[in-house]
Symmetry: C2
DNA sequence: ATCAAATATGAATAACTATTCATCATGGGA
DNA sequence: TCCCATGATGAATAGTTATTCATATTTGAT
């Protein structure tokens, strides 16, 4: 099957929205979405996505997406980025972010640093960023990815 | 044996200073320090210390101390704390931190939030914090713990 | 279009980690 | 002092995750 990308997206969505403490558990959740794979594949996926296993008072250990955290100064950059963000639209599979004048480059850098596999690359002007998504990645996926990178966007989008 | 505390300290020291990717490996490192235990005990220790296993490009996965990270705004609080820190002294097993006027409460909160087992508790006035260490915890251990909590202190202490 | 190389995957298994069970030590109350 | 409850620990084992090996699929170059 060629839905590796779909599976990776689903894994990230699941992990970011609920507490999962084993690959078997994750396997079942994927099954409910019609994605049938084995634990071996999942193990590889989690490694690929650099998913961490962190201590959790409730479930012992749970999986957690890596993303930005752990980088000093990141939060500041994020809220700066959120401040400059104006809107996002899609056309012909491409995303177009409008920003306040001058903000585009720094926001694009933020996205590039995380380098999510959903986004092949970005091109920033002064107040516009072009987002080039991977094939098979939907607009919703791109938006979710951006929200994971810059949580403050949640309130500004849609 | 009564050196559980010693072992927990050693584990934290090892993990914070080098990349360890399995309990067997950690077991050997402890052995070199004269601490002989089994993997079962280590598993319990790591759970107790809430140690995380995070992705590492070099070794796949490595253990990492929990401490502050993962909490938004934490970095800011840290550098603020480091700014207000003046000195630390010990007397009768108790640590006494002097801060700039008004800084003591917020620095104490930082320490309390991490709640390291080396420190039973803190008491903050306006510019003074009393640190109450656990039995069998040395001054050096307390200082190391504080540095783990507030890395910027490294340059200000000693 | 064809072949080679790279990638993806599952089954089986190895490697690693957590838990169960039994034992021993310690520290309060009666 | 004598139990009893609690906590620490190891051995064995159960549970979980990573890897190996074999195939199949996709991609790229000719």
């Amino acid at each position: 099957m060629g839905n590796r990308t779909e599976r990776l997206l689903a894994i990230r969505n699941i992990i970011s929205s609920q507490k999962v403490s084993s690959q078997e558990e994750l396997l079942e959740l994927l099954e409910k979405k019609g994605l049938n794979y084995t634990q071996a594949t999942l193990s590889r996926d989690l490694k690929f996505l650099k998913v961490n296993k962190i201590s959790d008072t409730e479930k012992g250990y749970i999986y957690e997406l890596p993303d930005q955290h752990h980088m000093p100064g990141q939060e500041l950059a994020e809220s700066y980025a959120a401040q400059g963000f104006v809107s996002i639209q899609f056309a012909n599979k491409l995303g177009v972010i409008k920003t306040l004048p001058g903000y585009a480059p720094s926001i694009a850098v933020l996205i590039d640093k995380v380098n999510p596999f959903e986004i092949v690359g970005t091109l920033a002007g002064d107040d516009t960023i072009l987002i080039i998504p991977h094939d098979n990645v939907t607009e919703k996926d791109v938006i979710n990815t951006l929200i994971i990178i810059i949580p403050e966007l949640k309130d500004k989008i849609k």
